[in-house]
Amino acid sequence: MAEDVSVTAVGPMGQNGRALNSLKGAMSTYRGVATVLILLLIVFGFAQSSFMTTSNFQNIVSSNAILLVIAVGMTFPMLAGGFDLSVAGTDALAGILLSKLLLAGMPMVEAIGIIIISAVVLGAITNGLLIGYFGVNFFIVTLGTLTITQGISLQITGGNDITMYNEKWLLQVANNNVFGFPILGLVALAILILGILVLRYTGFGRMVYSVGGNQEAARLSGISVARVRLTTYAISAGLAALAGMLEVGRLASSGPTTDSTIELTGAAAVLIGGVAFGGGVGTLLGTFLGVAFLGVLQSGLLISGISSYWQGIITGIVLIASVTVDRMRARRASTKKLRQTGEDQAPTVSDTVLPIPGEGMSS
């Protein structure tokens, strides 16, 4: 087993070399996005004196907190090998429902609770059930639920926005700072940390990775693949609803076009952060870096007076480049491995090759 030897061999690098390698391995996961992020910070920091200021960072945090909540939610189905396009629809609809319920006089806490619970349940029984249990393609199902929720939003509002200037509590949560840190950012960070804890330290988190990593292996190990899938869509729907309600506070309004296309921005953040599209690989820390990258880019361009249209162009280039570099690195690693062992091409005829004695068989 040549490659085992190559790892354990104590060459000139010895023990330190191995430790260094494993450190490199951990770093390399985020190397791409972290490098680009630091680069952006340096460039904008030097170019624009107003970039490296507390108020600008407060601004970056509060305007991207909602994207972070959405992206954390989307990371779950993506890690399990799926995808949730419907978050934008859920986000807008949750905001509209919150406005309607508050205007109808329902207390804030009850309204928020009802909406989150409904979103979780609906995410589970539409996306989750159809994708997890009936095996319908995730793209089709969530595209369908996206257009359905968007349609409902339009139907409810007649296409108009609902303004919400009277909900002092909601507006304060969404627009104030605690010790100089935006409350919205704190909420998003709390969600992020909770998500990290779930994915890293619970059995469910491991199951999400295993379903994305190899669903057949997961099934044979007694994991209910369908239930895990369902749960990931419930989580993304619940967090999308939360994001939509935070957005109501931030904008002091809700409407059918609020946060439209946030599913694509969210997916870009998750993928830039290193989650594999097929699932099984990636972390929420990566998702956080992906969101941070998009936020810093947007703010930097704005401050530099560069057209915000550039944001899309740069995001697209970075997205494709980071995934391509990953792909090439993986390919290089696999050809290197093949050169070392060639195992998978070894003469392993899967089918039987058996001698048949001539006795009674010869014609």
Partner: protein
């Protein structure tokens, strides 16, 4: 095919010019620790049918892949019509007149038969075809293989037995002068196989050379002018039609002494660990009954598709038995429930590491602990690493970095990860499906040792395999399957390789 006539003329000319069409001289290929081919030479004359025989892993398919351009040899020379040639992909091999037909069906099921047949035809992106033109072009090829279906019919509408005919027609589309056929009759029945033989003989009379790879000696005896036998990647010898007999060829193929492995004795406890009482396994004819005592290994011996995997999957709860009873230590297992079977101590190690077994892109640590997680319980990386280290140590795996992707391990170590994982739930019954498939020789011995130790520890094992050496080395009893039916049970002493081979190919 307007160029057909030309081609026949060319072929006639080449027959005159040289005695041999293809010469492969001292071809070697090494995959890591495995020397798949060492100095293998082969000559093929025009219009000759050459049989290529050998056991599992003897290098037959590697040689076929070298000759069809799928694998580049490390050394050795290939010449065609006396001229040295090199090719590095199947397209170039086709250019030189070498086509391959394998048991794997490589078609686009939703396209028409005609489109599939003409798939490898040279074309430009700008070429345009109409369906009727394609059908016209494909018709002569269909006639040649005697397929009477409408060329515009969807491939998926064909009978499975006709797939191989389409594959052959497809390879004939490029007018090959040599056709390599690798186990083409494995998945088809007698009548379809007879049609394949007729086509082969017809091709021979057209001057096409055939290299015929099979494990069925009767086919070799029926078809081949000459048979070349490989063993462990080396050429053992060549036998002419006149000298060939089933006994001589199988002796050349096996050519080894009795297995050096000593089965551990079964503890005489009298109790049964696993009992199958008249279990009706889906897709298996008749019922299946056998018992396994602690420390005993029962082998399920059969060709691919004989039903051995189905039996294992039924015991594991992945398929629902349609009748009968499965007992573990005397308690009935609820049929068709993987979770119950696992809870009652049945652990299943599937055959396909890539598709069913491992999360290739995930760390070794997670692959060891897969299946031990409870939804709302916390997991500990430290504990997972400790578990992985325990089994790695137990199985003598020289791996240190449990955070590396499992795909970086060798096949043998990947297999150990899977078995280690199955053992981490302290099973009473271990089901192993092809435990040494794709594992190199050294690691194979280690997996054998591992299984032996498990038996000594009192686990009951059911082992499905097509590898007779493995079955004989490890099992106390061998149940033989043929064509989805149990055809017999032999004790280890009764089960000679020749007897097993005879029974699993349909003899009584």
């Amino acid at each position: 095919m307007p160029e057909l006539g030309m081609d026949f003329a060319d072929r006639a000319a080449s027959t005159l010019h040289s005695q041999t069409f293809l010469v492969a001289n001292a071809v070697s290929k090494r995959f890591g620790a495995v020397q798949a081919l060492s100095d293998v030479s082969l000559e093929v004359r025009p219009g000759e049918i050459v049989g290529l025989a050998g056991e599992n892993g003897s290098g037959k398919s590697t040689l076929a892949k070298v000759l069809t351009g799928l694998i580049r040899p490390d050394s050795g020379e290939i010449s065609i019509d006396g001229q040295s040639v090199t090719f590095s992909n199947p397209g170039q091999a086709l250019e030189l007149g070498i086509a391959g037909v394998t048991q794997e069906v490589s078609v686009v099921p939703l396209l028409s038969v005609a489109e599939n047949i003409l798939l490898t035809r040279k074309r430009r992106f700008s070429s345009m075809y109409t369906q009727s033109q394609l059908a016209r072009d494909a018709q002569p090829l269909l006639d040649r293989v005697g397929l009477t279906c409408n060329p515009r019919a969807q491939f998926a509408s064909l009978r499975p037995g006709e797939y191989v005919l389409v594959e052959i027609a497809k390879s004939l589309a490029r007018n090959p002068r040599l056709l390599l056929m690798d186990e083409v009759t494995t998945r088809i029945g007698g009548r379809d196989a007879d049609r394949v033989f007729e086509i082969i003989l017809q091709l021979q009379s057209d001057g096409v050379s055939i290299v015929y790879i099979t494990h069925r000696l009767e086919e070799i005896l029926r078809l081949c002018d000459r048979t070349v036998v490989l063993r462990d990647g080396r050429l053992v010898g060549e036998i002419s039609r006149a000298d060939a007999s089933g006994e001589t060829i199988s002796r050349m193929m096996v050519g080894r002494d009795a297995s050096p492995y000593q089965r551990p004795a079964i503890a005489e406890t009298g109790t049964q660990r696993l009992e199958l009482h008249k279990v009706l396994v889906p897709d298996i004819v008749g019922s299946v009954s056998f018992n396994v005592r602690p420390g005993e290994a029962v082998g399920l011996c059969g060709l691919v598709g004989s039903g051995r995997t189905e039996i294992l999957e039924t015991i594991a709860g992945l398929r629902k038995a349609e009748g009968g009873e499965i007992l573990v230590s005397g308690f009935a297992v609820k049929p068709g429930s993987l979770t119950t079977a696992r809870r009652m101590g049945i652990s299943f190690v599937p055959e396909d590491r890539h598709k069913q077994g491992l999360m290739m892109e995930s760390p070794i640590r997670l692959n060891f602990s897969l299946g031990r997680w409870r939804t709302l319980r916390f997991v500990s990386r430290v504990q997972e690493t400790a578990l992985a280290r325990l089994y790695a140590h137990k199985f003598n795996m020289r791996l240190i970095e449990f955070e590396r992707k499992v795909s970086t391990l060798s096949g043998g170590n990947q297999q150990k990860v899977m078995i280690g994982r199955a053992l981490s739930s302290s099973p009473k019954v271990l089901l192993l499906d092809e435990p040494t498939r794709g594992v190199d020789v050294g690691a194979r011995g280690e997996v054998f040792e591992m299984i032996k130790e498990l038996l000594e520890g009192g686990i009951a094992i059911v082992l499905a395999s097509s590898d007779m050496v493995e079955l004989r080395a490890l099992s106390h009893t061998i149940i033989v399957l043929h064509d989805r039916q149990v055809v017999g049970a032999l004790t280890a002493e009764e089960a000679t390789e020749e007897r097993l081979a005879f029974m699993m190919s349909g003899g009584i």
